[in-house]
């Protein structure tokens, strides 16, 4: 039997069927003698199994008609412009990864306080605002230019019929929105707005509320203020660092429009 030193490289070769058959036994013996390498091998195998499982369904899907047509010549000769944009989703993965991390940080901030009811909602809304409103490029997951999709998507996730309020009269334009965790299991929609000077406010809406109340809240030590309402079945907070009167004005308008949307 051939005798040689194995290395991590051989784990990949063994996994990919590239290890010569006559080395297989010696390799297995080496794995047994090196628990760390054995664990690594097992982990790679598990990841591969998961990857295969995640993609297995694709093979069973029927071939889409448009691909069949492309092959058998009934497709338009010129590719439609939108189609050459498939690669954008790859670029978007980078953005999503950043968004995920942001949510992680926001989550830690909001759950570690452990407040109750109203305060908890307000704290979560403020934590989200502090993190995302400060982001120039990654503030939102879906931009205002895709407003219809934004509203549908967030409505489906949050479980409320959401309409992004028009706050132009108060000087604010919609930037976009994102989905966030809320409470123990829930989800919240965050809508971000900006005025001509770049001042940002956010709306935080969730379907996680059994109580009815309203009020304003500022974290100990200052920072942005939240104006919130809890109604049966949903809760809303408007967060920003505006003069109280202006924030209250924005909040009233936003609340009225959200309410009209939810009950429409």
């Amino acid at each position: 039997m051939t005798r040689r030193d194995f290395s991590e490289r051989d784990i990949h070769m063994a996994l990919d069927g590239e290890l010569p058959g006559e080395e297989r036994m010696a390799y297995e013996a080496w794995l047994e003698a090196n628990p760390e390498m054995k664990a690594k091998s097992a982990r790679y195998i598990a990841d591969r199994t998961a990857m295969r499982a995640a993609l297995a369904g694709v093979m069973d899907e029927p071939v889409p008609a448009r691909l069949r047509q492309a092959l058998f010549g009934q497709a338009p000769a010129k590719a439609p412009a939108w189609r050459s944009r498939w690669w954008l989703s790859a670029a978007a993965a980078v953005v999503l990864a950043v968004g995920g991390l942001g949510g992680y940080v926001a989550g830690i901030d909001s759950t570690s306080r452990g407040g109750e009811g109203d305060d908890q909602l307000a704290e979560q809304a403020i934590a989200a605002h502090v993190i995302y409103a400060a982001e120039k490029r990654h503030a939102v997951e879906v931009p205002a230019s895709d407003k219809d999709h934004l509203q549908t998507w967030l409505s489906n996730r949050v479980g409320l019929k959401l309409v992004a309020p028009d706050l132009a009269a108060q000087g604010f334009q919609l930037v976009g929105g994102r989905l966030l965790p809320a409470g123990e299991q829930g989800k919240a929609a965050m809508l971000l707005y900006e005025d001509a000077k770049g001042e940002r406010i956010s709306l935080f809406v969730t379907a996680e509320s059994a109580a009815t109340s309203k009020g304003t809240y500022t974290a100990e030590g200052g920072g942005p203020e939240a104006v919130y309402w809890l109604d049966k079945g949903y809760a809303c907070a408007v967060v920003g660092s505006l003069p109280p009167e202006r924030l209250s004005d924005v909040a009233k308008s936003a609340y009225g429009q959200l309410l009209a949307g939810i009950s429409s």
Binding site: R9, A53, R83, S84, A91, V95, G100, R137, G176
Partner: protein, 172 residues
């Protein structure tokens, strides 16, 4: 001619799977496959009859993918504005994914395109190192290091996401 098309047709499920692993979003992946099929039809004469069209088609698709990735990189950050994030989010409602599937697909998208292609080509599509190196147009040593680094990167990302999940923070 029709024999060739029939042979190509039977490769579509694999091409779709590979595209899905590269791009995740179903429509985007099918767009890539469609681009690949259209280019293949123009170059039908380059394919020797009697040979499996698989490697030929994968090579075409890989070139399309890598060309676009390079363009994205050249455009730099402009292509990474949140505008595109919304498009990637718009997965069809019928795509039911388990948490495990979603995590692994997310992680796969987060590793570099070169490593992703190399890893998937071998681990999912079952090409040998020699075949994959040929399709990707890189030396075998480069392929192997991409696979090794890809697996390691994937593992790190999955560890991160399970850590996040364990404290129930991120909801997607």
């Amino acid at each position: 001619m029709d024999d060739k098309k029939a042979a190509i047709l039977s490769e579509i499920p694999r091409l779709r799977r590979y595209a899905r692993s590269l791009l995740r979003d179903r429509d985007s992946a099918d767009d890539l496959v469609q681009d690949c099929l259209e280019r293949a039809l123009v170059r039908l004469d380059n394919w020797q009859t009697g040979e499996s069209p698989r490697r030929w088609l994968f090579t075409i698709m890989h070139h399309l993918f890598i060309d676009q990735m390079r363009k994205v990189n050249r455009r730099g950050e402009a292509a990474m504005l949140p505008l595109e994030a919304g498009e990637a989010q718009a997965a069809p409602a019928d795509q039911v994914e388990t948490i495990a599937s979603r995590e692994i697909m997310d992680a796969l998208q987060a590793i570099s395109p070169d490593r992703r292609a190399a890893l998937v080509m071998v681990a999912i599509e079952g090409f040998s190192y020699a075949e994959a190196a040929n399709i990707l147009g890189v030396p075998a040593g480069t392929l192997m290091s991409r696979i090794a680094r890809g697996r390691e990167e994937l593992r790190g990302l999955l560890d991160d996401s399970s850590r996040r999940r364990s404290i129930r923070i991120v909801e997607k």
